[in-house]
Each structure stands twice: as structure tokens, then as C-alpha cells.
């Protein structure tokens, strides 16, 4: 069904919209409210990559079907999983992941959007921001509360970020 969707989506012709392509990061642990994602898109940001759904990032390749399945799963988890905020990822791994995500998805910038009081996501932000700044990649950051549906301030900030990219970015 997904393959069919991709096929049909690529055939759809629609005028290109004047939006900024962004990578969304920091919301890894639980799916944020859908309204938050809609808010970002309405504010003029196309989310072209994200770190939502942590479980999807544990295994980035095929796991061998031969041999001990538990060992294979453990091996895949240890050697094939993405550097996420839930892992100890030293030496700039997380920053490199983010820069790569921007390059591979032709993104214009990065939105850090972590739940408030989320130590793992918030503590690594300064390191990731430093990696982006070395590459001159625009970014903005804000926090959201997991059980609220009030995103007016976020919409304003994301909209300003998107506008600033479209108006003043080199891209």
C-alpha cells in the first residue's frame, strides 16, 4: 500500500508551494501532538526529515534471518541503530547525523522541538547547534508541553523562521 501511495504521489501534479524544507529533531521519545506537526506545516515548514518514532531508528538495515535471532537483534541494535538522543553518542555523532539529514533531504534549516523537561533531547542541543553553525545551517528551537494543544507561539516562531529562510537565505 505504501509503495502504491509513493507511486501515485509522485504522479500528482500540483504547484510548488513556497515553503521552507526543515528537519525536525528533539521529539524522539513519544509522538508529539499531531496538531503540533500541522502547526509547523501551516507556518510554512515542510518537514522533510525527523527523529519521530524512535523504534524505527533502532534497525537501519536488514537483520539476518539465519542464526540466533536474539543475537542478531542485539547485534543490529548495537551496530546498525541511528545515533539518537536516547543513546550515548559521543564525538559529534548526533551533530553529524543532523548535518547529513539536512544535506540528504535538501533541507533549508533545522527545527529543534523538544518536550519541556526532556533532559536527553535538551542537553544535546548545544552540541548539535554547534555542528549546524559550523556548516552555516539555519536553525531555531522551542519546547512544547506534551499535554497541551496551544501552539500559537510555536506557529509564530516557526513562521518567522520559515520566512527568514525564504527571504534571506542563500539557498
Amino acid at each position: 500500500m505504501v509503495r502504491r501511495y509513493i507511486e501515485l504521489a509522485s504522479q500528482q501534479s500540483s504547484p510548488s508551494e513556497d515553503r521552507s524544507r526543515v528537519v525536525l529533531t528533539g521529539t524522539f521519545c513519544e509522538q508529539p501532538p499531531l496538531a503540533l506537526l500541522i502547526t509547523l506545516e501551516r507556518a510554512g515548514c515542510w518537514i522533510v526529515d525527523d527523529d519521530l518514532l524512535l523504534g524505527l531508528r533502532w534497525f537501519r538495515g536488514e537483520i539476518p534471518e539465519e542464526g540466533n535471532p536474539i543475537e542478531n537483534l542485539a547485534q543490529a541494535y548495537l551496530t546498525q541503530s541511528a545515533a539518537t538522543a536516547s543513546c550515548y553518542a559521543p564525538d559529534g555523532q548526533r551533530g553529524r547525523w543532523l548535518v547529513d539529514a539536512v544535506r540528504q533531504n535538501h533541507a533549508d534549516g533545522v527545527i529543534f522541538c523538544a518536550p519541556s523537561f526532556c533532559d536527553p533531547a535538551l542537553l544535546e542541543q548545544p552540541m548539535m547547534i554547534a555542528a549546524l553553525e559550523r556548516e552555516h545551517i539555519p536553525h531555531t528551537q522551542f519546547k512544547y508541553s506534551e499535554d497541551t494543544a496551544q501552539f500559537a507561539v510555536i506557529r509564530e516562531q516557526a513562521g518567522t523562521f520559515s520566512d527568514s529562510i525564504r527571504l534571506w537565505s542563500d539557498a
Binding site: A85, C87, Y88, A89, P90, D91, G92, A114, S116, F117, C118, D119, P120, L122, L123, E124, Q125, P126, M127, I129, K143
Partner: protein, 432 residues
Amino acid sequence: MNRDKLQEAAVQKEQSMVLQKQLIAGYYDSLGRAREDGKRVVSTFVPGNLTELLRSFGLLPILPEINALQSGMRKLSANYIAEAEKQGHSEDVCTYVKCDIGMLKSGNVGPTGVKLPNPDLLLLSYTGCFTFLKWFELLRQEYQCPVAMLHVPYLANGRIEPHHVAYVVQQLHSEVIPKLEQVSGRRYGEAQLSEMLALSAQAEDDFVWVLESAKNEPSPIDAYFGGVYYIGPIFTAFRGSSEGVEYYRMLREEIAQRIRLGLGPVTPEGTMERQRYRLVVEGPPNWTSFREFWKMFYDEGAVVVASTYTKVGGLYDRGFRHDPSRPLESLAEYCLGCYTNLSLPARVDLLEKYIREYRADGFMINSVKSCNSFSVGQLLMLRQLEQRTGVPGGFIESDLVDPRYFSLANIKNRIESYVQMLAQRRAAGVPA
């Protein structure tokens, strides 16, 4: 000898306080001299610390949480936190981390004014606090030194299983000891480690005796505010040392004397004579207004007879002792059993035991804003404890080392209201 003279004599005998301060100051001095003394240093955390193992290699531990809380007590933490926030750290995250990062960025001068050496190794013993992982990612970026990772399984079922111990011991053999050998240039010596563990167990016996002295009425100690001084040597660099043994021997003798004289704990306001309420406290204290916080309890005649914070560096009062005959297994069990590594049900069980064993009139939870490991689930714990024991709980909110989150008037108001409620219950004949 009249009571006043007895009391004066007892206060004069509080030599353990002087010794404790000397030990901690001496520890910081030794860190300051580490380079000229040719000593290597290892940065590590209090819960699940491997002090004896480090010392057996001639290594000195640096404990970032201790630096942070000492900075908090000395009113240095606000500027360090501001510095970390200037570097981009969120106002929401652990203030120990921000205090540590801010101190580092401000020249890495420790709380006693001595410049701290850069660590030669980061030993990440991960016991129940997820923040430790990211904290050491940040430190690794700053210091560029090797990291030894010790993963301690979380005790989801509330008890230590043999496979937990085997898993930790295996990591000690394959990960930790080789890196300590590399950094120190020494071979692992089990005999020396065992000798140190025997000293640890000796100090732990006296430490537990001190904690359990609060079962007396009046209690000769305050097991929270006073308790944080008592845990100082055993949670920092003095486990497995003759200095540590001497401190706890001296402390025990002093408290035995207080029991004989029927005296209460020594507080900054003097000996506490009026003990109206016996409380159990859950959660770390606030360090930036520590004395004011303690005085709020003192003024209400509330003495703390047991606390969970004094168990973050080991649950000795539940029977654990370092065992020289099984050195690495014993260190593994120590790491696994720290309070921060316990599940919520296990924490509730422990608090319930404290309330009953120490005949508490109530319990108080100090929920600190920036410590998710401690604070998550505390309201649920409060409800369960009230249901199980019938003893009323109080709930206050503050922070570890960020003075912006210590609202003196609000906290005082809550403590006074809580104590008034205890008084009304007592007047109405409601059993504790």
C-alpha cells in the same frame, strides 16, 4: 552536672563535624595538587561509584554532583548556571549539569577555590539516571579523554538477580578495569581492593548504626539535613580508607553520647530540644538555601528520622555491605542497589518501611524541578504511601542548585500548613 552543662559538653564533642570538613577540604586540595603529585583523576558519579576500585589503582575520583552541590551551598551555582544557559543550555534541564558545565567554562575552579584538574578518564557508571549519559557526552566533548562505560541494569522488578551481577562483573573485567589499568599504568590487584572493601564494610557498619539511631526518641540525629553531612565521606572519596573508618567511628561515639544524654541533633540553630514531629523525607534537599530550609523544619519541631536521599550512594541500612571475599561481585551489587536504581514500587516499599520502623508522624516529599529521576512518580508515591500507612504526606517543590526555584515564602507556608495539619490530627486523637 546540669542539663545545660551536659548539652554544652555534647556540643563541644562534635569533633566529627570538624573532621568531616577537613576531609572534604583535604579531598579538594588533593585534586588541586593531583598534577604535581603525579596523580591521575577519574570523573565519575556518586550513585554506583567505584571508589575503592579507583583508589586501588591510585586514582582520585572527581564527582560532578558533589562539585555542584558544594557550589550550591557556597552560593556559587547561580552564576555557573547562568554561564551554562548562555552557552545554550535550557532552563529545564538538570541544574547539576549546568552548574558543572558553567564551572568548567568559568575556569574549572572547584567550590573550595582550588582549580580542578581535567579528568584523565570519564567513568560513566549509569545507575538509574538517564541524564548521566548526556552529561558525559558534554564532558567528553570538553575534555577529549577516554570514557569507560558501566551499564548497571535498572531494577525493574525491585530485586537484584544473579544475571544482573554477572553482567556488571563482566563489564568490570572487560571494560572498566582495562581502562583503569591503562590510565593508571598499574595492574589490577584484587588483594588491595579486598583490603579496601574490608575498610568500607567497617565504616558502613558504623554509618548504619548512626542512621538507625534515629529510632530513638528523641532522635539524636536529623537523618536528612544532618544526614547529608554524614554521607559526605562515604559517598565521596573516603570509602575504603582509614580516614573514612575513623570518621564514622568518631561520629558513632558522639551520637552514642547524645543518646545517653537524651539530646537531639546538633543543628545550625543549636541542639534541637523540642521534637514534636518525626518525619520521613523523600527527595534531595535544596542546596542553595540549605540552612533556611533546615530551619523551617527546626522551627516547627520537626525532626527527620529517615530519608531516601541519604541512600543514593548505597542502601547500607537494608543489609548491604561491601564484601572483601567477593570484591567485584560486591561492587556490582552495590551499584545495582543504589536508591536511584530502584523502581517506583521498590521506593514506595522502602518509604513505607521507614515510616513504620521509625514511627514517623508524617512524610514529606521535596520534589526537585530539575531531577527527573527523582521527581517523576512522586505524587503517585505520595498517594500510595498515605493509603498503605494512613500517615499523611506533604509535598513541596524546589530545586537542587538553582536558587531561582527556591521560593522561601511558599515552601515555608506549605511546611507550616502541613505541620498544623499534623497538630490537628494529633489533637483529634488520630493515630500516626
